[in-house]
Symmetry: C2
Subunit: 130 residues, 2 copies
């Protein structure tokens, strides 16, 4: 099986950085496609295609105004993402203390055999895979 379609849900749709930029840009005010193209410096077909994806998952609304199409972010559709991430909020509070501990142990010369955690951040990751 291949990767899920970008149009399968909001999670996949916002994985594209460009689409996030667009959502940010048209969050407070509806804008015609051309303005998005100019302001964000992407190609026009590109923007149209991104907007189509966003439209299919409900992340934007459209309205025609003469020959222009006015797009606007439908914030409501971002909510599921917000709620999912929210379930982790209480965890990072608990983990902060643990992270601090590690940081201190790291800068501490008596650092010989800690629990040997692998942080997983790309930097540390590459450093650990020699």
């Amino acid at each position: 099986m291949a990767r899920a379609a970008t149009t399968s849900d909001a999670f996949n749709a916002v994985a594209e950085p460009r689409r996030r930029e667009i959502l940010n840009f048209i969050a407070l005010q509806e804008r015609p496609v051309g303005e998005i193209v100019d302001s964000l410096g992407m190609g026009q077909p590109s923007v149209s295609k991104h907007l189509r994806v966003l439209l299919e998952v409900g992340l934007v609304n459209v309205r025609r105004d003469g020959r222009r199409m006015l797009y606007r972010t439908n914030a409501e559709a971002v909510r599921p993402l917000h709620e999912w991430t929210e379930t982790f909020e209480r965890f990072w509070r608990h983990q902060l203390s643990r992270v601090k501990e590690r940081a201190e142990r790291k800068s501490n010369p008596s650092n010989d055999k800690g629990p040997e955690f692998i942080s997983g951040r790309k930097d540390d990751f590459d450093r650990n895979k020699n």
Copy 2:
């Protein structure tokens, strides 16, 4: 250009539903791979690969315990997502009233020429593309 790698950032990594399930499952307590496999009913190689992606973007930590590898969600890495979605929180409050208006207009028989909004949710979307 193709789609960005799943390992390029947290947004791409959590686009996979299975990876979100894993993150949920190992959020409160570290777990060995086998337990994830059994509990979530995915293939073992599949789980290992998902965990690798999550590890590369820093969404999980690992620790070895004998022959087992104990993985655990690194909630801190979810924060960027939380913060991005949070910027939209104030918008959906404002839009709620507007959405209600539309809903009422929809069920209202005197509905002849409203602003003709396209909601963009998949259901409405398909209905609009005849």
